[in-house]
């Protein structure tokens, strides 16, 4: 019974995350699309935790942990591609143009 409740919650979050895809589709900026991807990342972490709890399977928590790490790296990679030289250190950029 509790397991079903956890699965139902996971389904609700999946639907909510799917809604965020509208922002990825519409944009308009690259940052908007990136944010939609980030939301999918944190939604994925939540869903993994819920499935782990529903099945009492601690191994799925490691999936959640890896997803959380990957989401952070995805955001970093995005910022690096946006900065002109791909160097991606905004503090350094600003030091050049005070």
């Amino acid at each position: 019974m509790m397991a079903d409740l956890f699965m139902l919650t996971a389904l609700c979050i999946l639907i909510s995350v799917a809604g965020a895809l509208i922002r990825a589709w519409r944009g308009p900026g690259r940052a908007d699309r990136m944010m939609s991807a980030q939301l999918i990342g944190s939604g994925g972490v939540g869903i993994a935790v819920l499935i782990a709890a529903a099945r009492s399977e601690p191994a799925i928590l490691d999936v959640a942990l890896v997803l959380a790490l990957l989401a952070a790296f995805a955001a970093l990679a995005f910022v690096k591609t946006v900065t002109p030289e791909g160097a991606g250190d905004p503090e350094a950029d600003e030091a050049e143009t005070p």
Binding site: C12, I13, G19, M35, Q38, V45, P90
Partner: protein, 96 residues
Amino acid sequence: MSVVEGIIAGLLVLGVFFYVAGTVGLLRFPDTHSRLHALTKADNLGLGFIVIAAGLHWGDGWIAGKLALVWLLTLFAAGMAAQLVARAALKAEGGE
């Protein structure tokens, strides 16, 4: 349904509420940086409630520690990523 199960159900509902709030904010807010507010704050709060619900359901100390680690990591990553994406978005708009 026991009291604990009632609390877990309540936490799950709260979790879904904040996830949906994050999505709605991302769709409705007028500019990129405002949307970033919704993404950074609402989603991670939703995850927090879900993590607490899962911890209560499991009732195991080590698992609770790992759940806490998952949440702390996402909170930290969200705060850092928000600043980076905010800067990148500013740059894309051509400064202020």
